[in-house]
């Protein structure tokens, strides 16, 4: 596992697996070929992702947000693919901005966000724009959050589609922990607190790949 602390402003990656423990400034990530990137810390910073032609980036975040403003900007060149899995807990006042303006064709972007409230608020502004004169793009945005009260999260989707040749979808689900899941775990003898904590962790973990969990697990063991 190649773990790095990024100190420069931009990073060109090609056919790599990257495990970023920290980056010091706003980061520009230029991707070619097939790349996997896991990010553990991301506080009051922005990432600009540039996907070169025919590239495929899988990028995963597992974050504990606390009074944090994050921005993720995505740019696609022709025939590129993005799988983004963003999982977080949030405490205090937080903001996440995702911007993806698609000006080229044959791209496939899937953005999944999973958030769990930990006594705080989170505002998500998700802007997707598929411009005219583009064709056969796929843009899927799926945001789910577990909250204890409705006002703790505000999701503002802003999906603009200026072409007919596109598959675009936005989905957002907000709610408390499902009662039937709690009942199931309690019926196996788990205390309510343990059951709640397992369900919340599971909700975030189910949005991430095994290698991300190993990375995070390793980091926690080392600390």
């Amino acid at each position: 596992m190649h773990k790095i602390k990024v100190e420069q402003k931009s990073l060109n990656v090609k056919e790599e697996e990257l495990y970023i423990t920290d980056f010091l400034e706003d980061l520009e990530l230029e991707v070619s070929g097939t790349v996997y990137c896991a990010i553990q810390n991301f506080h009051n910073q922005s990432i600009k992702i540039l996907l070169e032609e025919n590239s495929h980036l899988t990028i995963e975040f597992l974050l504990d947000l606390e009074n944090t403003k994050n921005k993720i900007t995505i740019e696609n060149q022709e025939n590129s693919k993005l799988d983004m899995h963003y999982a977080c807990t949030y405490k205090g006042t937080n903001e996440l901005v995702i911007e993806n303006v698609i000006t080229t064709s044959h791209n496939e972007n899937k953005i999944q966000v999973r958030a769990v409230e930990n006594d705080g608020t989170l505002t998500i502004l998700a802007t997707g724009e598929i411009q005219e004169n583009t064709k056969e793009n796929t843009y899927l945005e799926d945001i789910k959050a577990i909250t204890t009260h409705e006002n703790s999260i505000k999701i503002m989707p802003d999906l603009k589609v200026a072409t007919n040749s596109v598959l675009a979808n936005h989905n957002a689900t907000i709610g408390p922990i499902e009662e039937n899941l709690l009942f199931y775990l309690e019926s196996k003898g788990l205390a309510k607190e343990s059951a709640t904590s397992l369900i919340k962790e599971g909700f975030l973990k189910s949005n991430l790949q095994e290698k991300m969990l190993k990375f995070i697990g390793g980091e926690r063991d080392e600390s």
Binding site: L181, F183, Y184, L185, E186, K188, G189, G202, L204
Partner: protein, 251 residues
């Protein structure tokens, strides 16, 4: 011992169970049968203290303790274990994580991690499920048969003293049904739990022989008898068997 006396239950303001009585002694196996919608699963959910089921009147005691004063966790820690018709899926929570947490929460985890995994591995082999199930998310993307075997994996690890099997046999093919039935029977032989089997099918009751069979009809038990009552139901259906007088069966 389980004692249910004059139990009336409502769900969303509708009475589902009325003046229901049942007693299961230590080590006894009881089968509860009845037509679809008769309220059999309601009994299972009430016993596990599902909040959606409101007890209007009556009493339930489990091993002398007032079950209606317990929450779901406490009922489970008093030995009850429910396998429902369609066990829920919990993404991101593995069987091993859940079982270790449950045993730890109850102060019953006497095994170190290696022994714990070894025990799970042996049980997977016995239940004819891949050992990958140990770290698979609970019931997630599993077939109906796999889910039921997965629930039995939990049963063998948590060693409950009161099994509530709510149509555990539904959706199983012949081989899976035999395996599930034999595993339950083996568990009964080893641990002598009280058992309440809710079923429509003959095969499970051929393997796990009930001491008593009850028919739930019109919100309460209308007939009780030995295993021959189940035979009669399977032959004649509920409408045919309902002409039998309860006293004849009990005699």
């Amino acid at each position: 011992m389980l004692q249910i006396k004059n139990l009336t239950v409502k769900v969303f303001d509708k009475i589902i169970i009325e003046d229901f009585n049942l007693e299961i002694k230590e080590g006894e196996i009881h089968a509860l049968m009845g037509q679809n919608g008769a309220g059999k699963s309601t009994i299972a959910k009430v016993l596990m203290r599902d909040k959606n089921y409101e007890v209007v009147s009556g009493t339930i005691t489990l091993n002398g303790e007032d079950l209606l004063r317990m929450n779901t966790t406490e009922v489970a820690r008093n030995g009850a274990f429910l396998v429902s018709q369609n066990p829920v899926e919990i993404p991101g929570v593995s069987n091993a994580e859940m079982l270790r947490t449950s045993l730890n929460d109850q102060g019953k985890n006497e095994l170190n991690i290696l022994e714990f995994n070894k025990k799970l591995t042996r049980l997977c082999e016995k239940l004819e499920i891949p050992t990958s199930f140990i770290h698979r998310d609970i019931n997630y993307n599993m077939s109906g048969g796999e889910k039921k075997k997965n629930e039995l994996l939990h049963m063998w690890m948590l060693t409950p003293s009161f099994l509530i099997l709510d149509e555990i046999d539904s959706g199983l093919d012949v081989d899976a049904l035999k395996l599930v039935g034999n595993s339950i029977q083996e568990y009964i032989t080893n641990y002598h739990p009280m058992v309440l089997i809710i079923t429509h099918q003959k095969t499970l009751l051929d393997i796990v022989k009930p001491d008593r069979v009850h028919i739930l009809n019109h919100k309460q038990i209308t007939q009780s008898g030995d295993a021959s009552l189940a035979e009669k139901i399977f032959k004649e259906g509920f409408s045919g068997a309902s002409i039998i007088d309860r006293r004849d069966i009990d005699a």
